[in-house]
């Protein structure tokens, strides 16, 4: 029997929600001015964005979601006030092979270390495997992002690729690591956990 009752987008302390073009642009603009966050979240050079530029990105995102159908973007909200705290994305989906790439981040430092990342990844994986029916997902992480590495390892992701010295930041070369998780592995763990 299909479980239609367990919420895809709601869990203990957080939920996934749509983009609020007006309200979220301000908040996200602030995050882009925090280079520490951006350097954890992005591999490309950090670039602060104005709210107007963020709004344009939101429009492009929804356009791409509608036209290319290979991207699913969610805002992460804290319950119960629905406050924006982060983002969760499944992208670069190749439907014929059942592959997708995951990305998620909690925007401001005060909201981290509260277990929100774990809850968000749990929901994102159920969406990727239970709603999109992907075969596998990949997460690409710079080697200095120990928090992300620990999080993915917690969920049983396997280190699959290590691109040596592929990132140059703060005068140092870092490896870029790709972690992978198969639908079957996730399902096994989920059943084990009950």
């Amino acid at each position: 029997m299909i479980d239609i009752q367990t919420q895809l987008f709601q869990t203990q302390d957080i939920c996934f929600g749509p983009i609020d073009h007006e309200a979220h642009a301000e908040i996200e603009s602030k995050w882009t001015h925090d280079a520490e966050f951006m350097r954890l979240m992005e591999l490309k050079p950090v670039r602060p964005l104005s709210p107007a530029m963020v709004k344009k990105q939101y429009e492009d995102l929804e356009k791409q979601m509608e036209e290319d159908k290979n991207l699913f973007y969610f805002t992460i909200r804290a319950c119960p006030d629905d406050r924006l705290i982060g983002k969760a994305v499944i992208e670069w989906i190749e439907w014929t092979n059942g592959n997708g790439y995951l990305r998620l981040g909690i925007g401001s430092a005060e909201d981290r270390r509260k277990g929100y990342g774990t809850q968000a990844l749990k929901m994102l994986l159920r969406y990727a495997f239970g709603e999109l029916n992907l075969y596998r997902v990949t997460a690409v992480v710079p080697a200095y992002n120990e928090g992300a590495i620990r999080l993915f390892q917690k969920f049983g992701f396997m280190e699959e690729i290590r691109r040596r010295k592929a990132l140059n930041r703060d005068g140092q070369f870092w490896d870029i690591i790709s972690f992978g998780l198969l639908n079957s592995e996730w399902r096994e763990q989920a059943n084990g956990r009950g």
Binding site: N99, M158, E160, I161, R163, A166
Partner: protein, 204 residues
Amino acid sequence: MKDILKGESVRLSAVDPEELAKAYAVWNSDSELMRLLDSRAAHMHSAKGIKEFLEKEIEKESPANHFFTIRTLNDNRLLGDINLNVINWGARDAFVGIGIGNRNDWGKGYGTDAMKIILRFAFTEINLRRVTLTVFEYNPRAIRCYEKAGFQHEGCLRGALLRDGKRWDIFYMGILCDDWMEKHYEQTAEDRIASLPKPQPALS
């Protein structure tokens, strides 16, 4: 200065959208080729469509993109293409992709030669620090070619391809400038010295 676009059996030359598009339209009908090159479902496109796509790409003139056709040295025949795409300027890392279109030209060393040329170009002309590539598990010929060119295995996306009802891995390989320089520096220095003008006898 050495002609770095010339190899032993091939040379790299400019892309002529019309010529390449016609060639693609023929090569794309070979599904084995498509399945070696592309992870997406094998698809056939008209020459016109391909030509428009290529023209748009070339028009962009992006400093990140270096797109060449591969031609035989002896009879200037179009063999395929090779493409360097810088993905990260900070680390100076680029993806390389190569395709030899006609299966009768496979296994003749053309690919290995072209790859050697592009690596020299990458490390001594645009001064990259690393080059990355992906190759499918079921393409041992290419894997051997890349290993010979100096690429090292960096891992694989498990089961990332589903073809003919079976799952295959996508391998990632990478070569660092330091590793390449170590292997080629002596040659390069020798070549450099050999290409310098011979000292003239003093006029009496």
